[in-house]
């Protein structure tokens, strides 16, 4: 197994909508910087996709990491930056690719 796929479902928590546009933008920039750190150590962001029409969440975001520990550290950095305080989420991991 040479790759860990990380699947992240998310939707804003209710109090996210009380923030000003400026504060939301600043927080998003902070989380983007955290994601860039993951890319710098070997992760690849496949992308984010809209899923509200067929799921409990608003978006699904998919990443590829070199191993499970790297996926774990990516998430820990986001939570240290407060991401989980503003967004509800559910995460999955998968090993592969399966031949």
């Amino acid at each position: 197994m040479s790759e860990t796929i990380w699947i992240h479902y998310a939707r804003p928590r209710p109090h996210w909508y009380d923030l000003s546009d400026e504060r939301q933008t600043a927080l998003k920039a902070e989380w983007s910087a955290s994601a860039e750190r993951s890319k710098s150590v070997g992760a690849a962001r496949v992308g984010a996709y809209h899923i509200r029409g067929n799921h409990d969440f608003e978006t699904v975001e998919i990443w590829s990491f070199p191993n499970a520990e790297a996926a774990y550290e990516h998430w820990v950095r986001l939570t240290i930056a407060g991401y989980n305080e503003w967004f509800a989420y559910a995460n999955n991991i998968g090993f592969g690719p399966i031949e």
Binding site: M1, W6, H15, W75, E85, N91, N92, I93
Partner: protein
């Protein structure tokens, strides 16, 4: 490995352990002996023996008494839509994930429909206060810090944590063993796991009243499983 803070009066951050919980919530699948037979049972036994050699603990019991070697789970079928809930502890996240794949490949997937969760340990085990007793009942608790908690001020959270510690201290005074806390949020919707060992389901139910009284569930949304400890071998038997 990075962990989040969360120590309280009752629970301390486990700085030493690199343990990683492997949680399995499983429902038995009706299958003919051709699908699951002695070959699969023996293969799973072989994988379990290898995992033990590699430093795994194969029961909640072993988290409190490492000399316990027999793989054990909690029999939950009487009260839940799963037949068993089990928790092992692996040496690392990768070892944990690879262990699930090895078990499934050995034939586990022919016997059980399983939800696997993986959670690095954050907080240490805490033993109940009182005479040594057998605690054959397990309480498996998953929870998330909900929207109400994330919207609360730091002071409100601190006050709620302190109030919850009153309930946790009462649990310890009732001679309940607690496994501390494992972190599952990186790969699941549930954020945390804790498992208790208790003398009876009635004691667990009684403890919940105190957790309700201190408003534990104001800031957490949870799922609880109750089951009686049984050897995993009972669920793998082919006769």
């Amino acid at each position: 490995m990075s962990l989040i803070p969360g120590a309280t009066q009752v629970f301390s951050v486990d700085q030493l352990s690199t343990g990683c919980a492997v949680i399995f919530l499983a429902k038995r699948v009706p299958a003919s002996p051709k699908v699951f037979g002695e070959a699969q049972r023996l293969a799973i036994g072989q994988v379990l023996a290898e995992l033990a050699d590699e430093g795994w603990q194969l029961s909640v019991r072993a988290m409190f008494d490492p000399s316990v070697a027999e793989p054990m789970v909690f029999d939950t079928g009487f009260a839940h839509n799963i037949d068993l809930a089990g928790v092992f502890e692996a040496p690392s996240v990768t070892a944990a994930l690879e262990g699930t794949v090895r078990l499934e490949a050995a034939g586990w997937n022919r016997r059980f429909d399983t939800e696997w969760l993986i959670g690095p340990r954050e907080l240490s085990t805490v033993k109940g206060i009182g005479d040594p007793v057998d605690r054959p009942w397990g309480f498996v608790a998953f929870w998330e810090w909900n929207d109400a908690r994330t919207a609360a001020s730091p002071e409100e959270r601190r006050r709620n944590d302190a109030d919850c510690d009153i309930a946790f201290q009462a649990d310890l005074d009732a001679n309940i063993n607690m496994t501390g806390r494992h972190r599952t949020d990186w790969m699941h919707g549930w954020q945390h796991l804790s498992i208790w060992e208790a003398t009876s389901p009635e004691l667990i139910d009684h403890a919940m009243y105190e957790h309700e009284r201190v408003l534990d569930f104001r800031f957490t949304t949870s799922r609880h499983y109750v089951g009686r400890r049984r050897p995993l071998a009972d669920f793998l038997a082919t006769n």
